[in-house]
Symmetry: C2
Subunit: 203 residues, 2 copies
Amino acid sequence: MMIKKKTRGQLIVLSGPSGVGKSTVISELLGQRQDIHFSVSFTTRQPRVGEADGVNYHFVDRAEFERMISAGELLEYAEYVGNYYGTSLKVIQEKVAAGTDVLLDIEVQGAAKVRAKCPEAVLIFIIPPSFEELSRRLRGRNTDSEETIAGRLRKAREEYRQIPSYDYLVVNDKVSAAAAEIIAILLAEDCRTRNRLHLVDDI
Amino acid sequence: MMIKKKTRGQLIVLSGPSGVGKSTVISELLGQRQDIHFSVSFTTRQPRVGEADGVNYHFVDRAEFERMISAGELLEYAEYVGNYYGTSLKVIQEKVAAGTDVLLDIEVQGAAKVRAKCPEAVLIFIIPPSFEELSRRLRGRNTDSEETIAGRLRKAREEYRQIPSYDYLVVNDKVSAAAAEIIAILLAEDCRTRNRLHLVDDI
């Protein structure tokens, strides 16, 4: 048996523009790496068709979200297109300390806050094969008005400026290939010397 | 098709104590990643049974090796247990510039020189599951005298001190698992943001 005891879990941040297909990639990833804990974010936005409370998001109202901010219960939070999105600090701390990898799906402002608080977090940005393709995917979803789509594309342009501060860049052309790359990134991060020095004999 | 054009190849350095099973791991790796160019080192040591010139090493005499040193033809070279080992600079430069990944099997002194000259090289150190197991593997080889084995173990102890300067640490318990980890490391390195910025639309 390969020695694989981990002293701490990894904190993995996935970002990418709305419409890039992040949730599909995450489903594929979590199917293959069932040991990863997916951190469910809190949000004040309305559930979309097919979204369930506690699965896609914890859906809360603004008053509750603002209470969580004041109580310091959030690792990061941001306001995006008029809604709050945030991540519970407590859950993450417990999981990582127990050696479990934790995956966060958050946008660039949140990712920057995670990096500042946890410098060893692994930041991965997912892009579409082209910006044109992103625009096609957003229209193909048929859930948003033209105005919302235009807003998402503007937002994506802003987000792209933050790409250089991410550790890894994954192109979501084929979902299986994108998931395979993320799985390779996580295995490689496990192999980092600083995460494995406990395996070296004290000679 | 996934966009995978690489602007430059990666320089990959593999080190590990004599007896760790590095050549077996490398064979497995090159079988799966046939696009990798394995840099054949030059050495003044005698070929072992089964070793062929130009395959395992380029075998040369001391006079020729010292000529190569003077002519600046080597990326790195070192003397180890009375013999020279060195790497051709020219071959590596050509391959990397053409987008080909190049694998070097060199010891810690050579690796430190590569790091100094090519800061973006990926340095991987392979260890056995335990130091006891290393000693068993060296004896099981039946090619070396007890004195040579003792020398190799002493050398291994020194090499272990350099482990923290390597990027990645791979435990060779099972060859297939060790090769899979190296393959994941190379894919992850391809995904590094700095190696992929050319895939981001200029928007």
